[in-house]
Amino acid sequence: MLVILLGFTSCNNGNQSGGKSGALSNNIAEKVYVAPGEYDSHYAFISGGYSGNVTVYGLPSGRMFKEIPVFSQFATSGYGYSEETKPMLNTSHGFVPWGDSHHPDISQSKGELDGRWVFINENNTPRIARISLTTFETEEIIEVPNSAGNHSSSFVTENTEYVVAGTRFSVPIPQRDMPIKDYKGNFQGALSFISVAPETGNMDIKFQVLMPGFNYDLSHPGRGKSHGWFFFTTYNTEEASTLLEVNASQNDKDFIAAVNWKKIEEYVNNGGGKMMPANYAHNLYDEHTHTATSTMKKEVRVVNPIDVPGAVYFIPTPKSPHGCDVDPSGEYIVGNGKLSANLTVHSFTKMLDAIEKEKFAGEAYGIPILNFEDVLAGVVEQPGLGPLHTEFDGKGNAYTTFFISSEVVKWKIGTWEVIDRKPTYYSVGHLTIPGGNSGKPQGKYMFAMNKITKDRYLPTGPEMEHSAQLYDISGDKMELLLDFPTHGEPHYAAAMEASIIKEQSQKIYKLADNKHPYAAKSDADTKVVRNGNEVHIYMTTIRSHFSPDNIEGVKVGDKVYFHVTNLEQDFDVPHGFAVLGQNNSELLIMPGQTKSSVWEPKQVGVWPFYCTDFCSALHQEMQGYIRVSAADSDVPIKWSLGEDIE
C-alpha cells in the first residue's frame, strides 16, 4: 500500500513540475544541484583577468575544475618555471612572468562552436594564446607587435579563419621616442588578423590594419550574412593623451569601425600591404617533446586602410561604446554606448545599402563615415545605466549588462522592447551565454561576471574573489539560480555544452610518443651525466619511487638539471618533484610526460627530494637523496636505486 502511495505521490509531483506554478518549478536548488559523481551539462572557460590564467568551471553547479596557466607563471605545475615552459612566456621584452587575460573564445566551424581550442588575449604585453581542449594546456602564444592594451581581442571568425586582436591604446608605429603631446595624428591603432591553421591551430599574423589613433575597445566578427566583416568599437576619437576620463568623453558619438577583412585578405593575397620590420615572439609548445620553443619573428605585414577602397567604414555610435556584439543572424550590431542612456543597434543590411549609395557624412583620416541614421536599426530606450556587453539566446532575445545600474536586461531583437531585468551583485562586466559568440547560442543558461563582491560571501579581509551569477534563461523571465566565486578577475568567459569536449579530453600522454630529448622511458634509461659544470639527471617516477633515488658527485656551483619522466600510463596519476632549497617551483608531471627543473646548489650537504603529489599508498616513501660536495672535491658522479651507493 505504501508503495502505491509513494508511486502516486511521485507521479503527482512529476505532473506539477511540468507546470509553471508547481512547487518544484520554484525549486532553484534542484536546478543547480549536480549530484556527487554526476557531471555538469556545460563547460565554462572563465578568464582569470589579472591572474593571467583561465579557469574551467562546470555549469550549472558553478564548481571549478581546473586552473589553466596561460600568461602567468604557475608554481603549482611548474608552468613558466620548468625549462620546457619558460619559453612560453618569452616576449620581445624578455621573459614576462605575468599577464592580464581577458576574452576567451572557443574555436568555431561553420558558425558553431567546435570545442577544439580556446583563444585568449593578454592585455598588457599584447599576446594571444591558444589552449588545447584535449589536453587543457596552453599550446601556443603569439605576441602582437604594434599593439598596446590588447583588448578588442581575441574573437574568432565563424570558421576560425582568424583570431582577431585590436589595440586599446594607440601608440607610435613603429615605436619611437617622441613627445606624448604629439599624439594626435601621429599615433596609430593596429587591428591584427591572426590566421589559424585549420589542422594544427597554429597562429600567424596575416596582416595588421593601421587605423587612426583611437582606442579600439572591443570587437566581434560578422556571421552568416555579415561573415567577412569585423566590427570594432572605438572611444577617444578625440585622440586625447591625458585625463581621458574627461577628454575622451567629449564627442557625442564615437565610432564602430566596420572592417571588410575578406577584402583586405584578397588585397594581401595579391601582394598588397608592406612588410614592416618588427620583433615579436611566437611560442609553440610541442605535446610530443613536452617542450616549448620561442622564435622571434622579425617582420609583419601592415595595411593602410585607405589603400584598400571599401575595406573600412566608421559607423557613428553614441558615447564611447564599449561592447560590440553581433546577433546570431549577423544582421544586428549592438553598440553598447557606456555613457549613453540608450542602446544603439545598427543594421548590417542598412550599412551595405548606405555604402552602396555612398551616403557618407564625412571622413576621418580618409576613412568614410556613414550617417548614424542611415545605419540605425533601432534603439533600446532607457534600458539601464552604463551598458557594457550584449549576448544572445538564439531565440530572438538579447541580454545586456549594465555596469552602473548593476543589472542584466533582456530585450527583444526587432521590437527593441525590454522584456525583463534582473539585478546582479554587483557591477556586472561581461555576461556569457554558452555559444554566445556564434551563430548558434545554446540559450539555457546565462551568467554575469561581476567586478564587485562586497557582502556576497563570508568576508575574507579587504581582498575578495570576484563573483559570478548564474541565471536560467529558458523561460520568459530570467531566474537567478546561483552565486559562485571566481578566481582572479572573471573578465569574460566562453562556454559550451559539455558533450564534445568531455569525450575528447585526454587521459594520459603516451610514453611511446614522448620525444623529449632528456626523457628516460624506463629505469634502464636513467643516468647522470656531467658536462662541465652542468649535471643532467635523467630520472623516472613510478609508484612509488624515483629512479635513481641516490645521487652523488654534484658540487656547489653546478647547474643541476632534473629531467623527470613520469612512467605511469594510468589516468590521474601525476608525480611531483621538489628538492630542498631549490630557488624554483615544484614540477608536477603528468603520466608519460617529461619536465625539467634547474637547481643550483649553494650548500654542501645531503639534500632530500620527494614526490609532492600524493600518488599512492607508499607516497611518503617516494623520496631520495642528492649529495652535494664542495666545489673542489673529487667525488665521482654516481647514481643508484635499491642498493647502497658504492
Partner: protein, 206 residues
C-alpha cells in the same frame, strides 16, 4: 541425419571464434578505478582491455609481490591452445562431413563432445593452476604483506569464475565472447548428437 551433420559442422566452426574473441575476461574495479582495469584471456595470450591495463595491473601488483602477467611466449599454453582448438574444429568438421555423406555414425558427435569436454576441463584445471600460482606465489620482499587470520599469507588468486573481493579490488571473472561461442558450439554438437540419434531411432522404428 543431414541436418544433424550440418549442425555438427556449425558447432565445430564456432570454436574458431576463439581466434578472434577472448576466451575469458577478468575485470578489476576499485574505489580508485571506477573504470575497471581488465585482462582478456585469448587462447594465444593475455591482452589488456584498455591499452595500458596490463602495465597498470602489474604496477599495482608489485606492491603485494605478485609476478607480472606472463607474456605469450612465457607460457607453453599459449602455443598449444591454438593448435588444440584448430585441431578440434578441424576434427569436428571432418566428422560432420563424413556423417553428412553417411561415412560415420552420429555417435562420433558424442565422441567429439566428450573429447572436447575432457580437453576443456584439463584447460580449466591448468588455467586454475596458473591463477593459483599467479595469486599465491608472492615475492617474499613484497611491500604489503597481508595474512589470513590463521597467519598464512593471503592469496590474490582471482576466481576461476564469478566474483571475489581482493583487498580494495572487486574481481569479476567470466567467460568472454570466444568462450561463449565455444560453449554454444559444443552445445550444438551435443544437440547434433541428439538429433542424429532421434532421426536414426525413427528410421529403425519405422
Amino acid at each position: 541425419m543431414k541436418k544433424a551433420s550440418i549442425i555438427m559442422i556449425i558447432g565445430s566452426l564456432l570454436l574458431l571464434g576463439l581466434f578472434k574473441f577472448p576466451l575469458w575476461n577478468i575485470m578489476l574495479g576499485a574505489p580508485q578505478y571506477p573504470e575497471p582495469l581488465g585482462m582478456n584471456i585469448h587462447i594465444d595470450g593475455i591482452k589488456g582491455v584498455s591499452e595500458f591495463d596490463l602495465q597498470n595491473i602489474d604496477g599495482l601488483n608489485h606492491y603485494i609481490g605478485m609476478k607480472t602477467i606472463p607474456k605469450a611466449e612465457e607460457m607453453w599454453e599459449f602455443a598449444v591452445f591454438p593448435k588444440v582448438i584448430l585441431g578440434m574444429a578441424f576434427l569436428g568438421i571432418i566428422i560432420g562431413l563424413m556423417s553428412f555423406f553417411d561415412k560415420v555414425s552420429y555417435k562420433f558427435f558424442l565422441g567429439w563432445f566428450i573429447l572436447m569436454s575432457i580437453l576443456g576441463v584439463l584447460g580449466m584445471y591448468d588455467f586454475n593452476n596458473w591463477l593459483a600460482d599467479y595469486g599465491g606465489n608472492l615475492d617474499s620482499h613484497a611491500i604489503i604483506k597481508v595474512t589470513n587470520p590463521d597467519g598464512t599469507p593471503m592469496s590474490y588468486k582471482p576466481p576461476l569464475i564469478g566474483f571475489k573481493k581482493l583487498l580494495n579490488f572487486d574481481v569479476t571473472s567470466l567467460p568472454h565472447t570466444g568462450g561463449y561461442l565455444m560453449f554454444i558450439g559444443m552445445s550444438l554438437t551435443l544437440f547434433a548428437f541428439w538429433l542424429g540419434r532421434k532421426t536414426s531411432l525413427k528410421k529403425t522404428t519405422s
